[in-house]
Subunit: 436 residues, 2 copies
């Protein structure tokens, strides 16, 4: 099976765990058998590998997520890099062209496109295989997954099928309805549109060439930022006559709010947390090292990260966005392809950061105009290059770098260091990168 | 007026703001007119100075609190240092002897003894003056403050006066009663015993010499740890015939739990916190730099500090102690006479701390057996002494100290530094102090 996972943008609805640079699909919140935790994207990737070890998985995403994806899934996963965000039609066209032109997949093969963050079981991925096989048959140009509704949701679009058969042609589509309308649709046999569909690559290549003037993947990539923002639904689905829908009745959850996310958690506490016996329906997700103690609460979610602390009634948590938008908080934690960093102290003219480099990785060779830096290696060993001079470093070593000085560090084992930045004008923008 | 403030021990009922080394009276939680915040001890001290600028104030406390007292009240406040905790009779005997033998107060003068942490207005301190003046008259050996009860509390002892006069002799004392008994006492005109009383110094000196063999303050101080633990009530009050009580009808609150403490707060948010419009009766006390967002909560207290995060129904917060006792968390923040420190990162074989030295102060000259240390000055200037060598230091300077090396730093301005400790066996016990 060829599968394209659409990895959407940043979201603030799961603040303080998601923010401008950390999307919800990367939060490690689901307990694995070995006691560790995995993220939505890790869970989905693992499930695909279980159902189809030979699947060609391509993640369509922006530059901002590449580090986190490699960090969580390894270097082998295929990435269709969107130079900028241009909605789903350009993204799917680019990924389709990536599969044929870069990955060498035959245009006659089918591909399944689905979001990276549904909370599902393995049966969902078997259904994706069926979807792909149905697309192979060529009875329709697009085969959608229709999810059996479990309640009259106002959050989803609806697909009205022509019959109650497992697979049949689509009669019509309905936009997000009111509750009453949704109840009506469901009586007519309507299904949720979860944005999951399969097609033969050539079909979308043709559509892309109809709407965009380009020669091949490289060309499409190069002119990506000039493309019009347009959704796949609007550009393709609404104009297509030959669309089938295949029913799916298994578990399918969209974990977009704290309320729905905590429903999917196996345990009430992730991280260092204590609930007293009076608490009911309380979830603690604590990424900090210090404990969270909850007493006498009901249906509340508590989440603490280096970015901040949320304490919310679960229902109320869906109204979080404007409050988080109003918070002017610098990024305190980030995963990078080479490891991670965490801000541990902020003063007027200094900032202290803990940097963790994964074994075999290094940061960019770079300099700063307006700040001096000091590194203290607190664990591991590696090599620094400072203004062209390489030297080995180990735990306890101190490296001082004046403003303007070019520097990097290679981790020969996992390497942790405390970086103290000193200057009146400390900013993430103050960075010049160099080739080594 | 001579006044002895009893500054009690550590408490965990206001965790995470109070802990083993930080007592509730030092939490800065009350808003001042200039927008800054003051602690209970600062508030009481300021109120005494307002009512009686010439008052001789002595704080009876243990060594653990001396740093915090000097840090919050300055160097001029009198401290009767208890070498160890021996309950209220030895503490009051020591403070009394300190006043006569060290401070040179005449034994004929009176003194008022009261806890350091009542939440009261200025009228309370005028009442203390009256209490002292009543003791001066010598009609009784002890003059107690009797607080007009506002509800039939089960938390306090009760004083049954002989009459309803403002000042009269005590008929009897009653232990903490049930609610029904308390209602009965109040009908009989009973008053709360808030542990506030006045006496002529000679009276308690005589009592002390009756019960303890000692010559003077120095001698009493030297043998303090051999003294029996006994309360002032048990040793003195219960055996005394000539006790008067003076009524006090003003505000008097004992802020021992989050529930009572938040009632006394003028604002719902101290520190970086946001309440959505649905919240009611919610208090946020946040000592961290990152925001706390509360949504849809009712009658909840949220408190965050470097030690941890509490989210509790206000009623439930009085049951906090056993949960906090079970938390095995190292001290993450402490106020010292020279400034403060905060743990900002903990790893297996390293710990990173931010140290703030107040201008004109220094830490002890000391060494560690099992760890190396690195200092990076992040603001201010001063002088370090490392193995006897003095050198000036300023922002950006790095000082490396190997295990065994003696070191200290003097702050010539407020001085902040990041201290990285490196070693397999990092412990607060690993410290040898030296004279300079």
């Amino acid at each position: 099976m060829n599968i394209v996972l659409l990895s959407g943008g940043s979201g603030k609805r799961l603040w303080p765990l998601s923010n401008d640079i950390r999307s919800k699909q990367f939060i490690k919140i689901f307990k694995c058998k070995d006691g560790s935790y995995e993220s939505m994207v890790q869970r989905v990737y693992r499930q695909i590998r279980t159902v189809d070890p030979d699947a060609t998985v391509t993640i369509a995403t922006s530059k901002a997520q590449v580090s986190a994806i490699h960090n969580q899934l390894g270097e082998d996963v295929g990435i269709s890099l969107e130079p900028c965000r241009r909605d789903t039609f350009p993204a799917i066209a680019l990924a389709t062209s990536y599969l044929t032109d870069v990955m060498g997949v035959s245009p006659e093969e089918s591909v399944v496109v689905c979001p990276v963050d549904p909370f599902v079981e393995n049966d969902y991925f078997y259904a994706l295989k069926e979807l792909s096989e149905q697309a192979d048959k060529g009875e329709a140009n697009l085969v959608l997954m229709g999810i059996e509704p479990t309640y009259p949701s106002e959050k989803y679009g609806y697909i009205i099928p022509e019959s109650k058969d497992k697979t049949c042609f689509v009669s019509t589509f309905k936009e997000k309805p009111t509750k009453e309308m949704a109840e009506n649709y469901i009586k007519q046999g309507a299904l949720w549109n979860g944005g999951v569909f399969a097609y033969q690559l050539q079909y979308v290549l043709d559509k892309a060439h109809e709407l965009i003037e380009f020669t091949d993947y490289q060309d499409l990539f190069a002119k990506y930022d000039s493309l019009k923002k347009i959704s796949f639904d609007y550009a393709v689905v609404e104009n297509e006559e030959k669309i089938q829908v295949m029913r799916f009745a298994g578990q399918w959850k969209d974990l977009g709010t704290w309320n729905t996310l905590t429903e999917a958690m196996e345990e009430n506490v992730v991280g260092n947390g204590i609930l007293n016996e009076v608490c009911s329906g309380v979830h603690i997700i604590n990424e900090l090292d210090v404990p969270v103690l909850a007493m006498g609460l009901h249906d509340v979610v508590i989440s603490a990260s280096p970015e901040g602390i949320l304490v919310s009634d679960k229902e109320q948590s869906s109204y979080i966005k404007p409050f988080v938008d109003a918070i002017d908080q610098q990024i305190m934690f980030a995963e990078k392809s080479w490891g991670s960093f965490r801000v541990i102290d902020v003063e007027n003219a200094s900032m202290t950061i803990k940097v963790t480099l994964n074994e075999g990785h290094s940061m960019n060779y770079h300099s700063h105009k307006h700040r001096d830096e000091v590194w203290i290696v607190i664990s591991g060993h590696g090599r620094t290059i400072v203004d062209g001079m390489e030297q080995t470093v180990k735990t306890g070593d101190v490296i001082q770098m004046k403003a303007g000085c070019k520097h990097t560090v290679f981790a020969d084992s996992e390497l942790k260091l405390i970086e103290v930045q000193l200057g009146d004008d400390i900013s993430v923008e103050d960075k010049v990168k160099y080739k080594l």
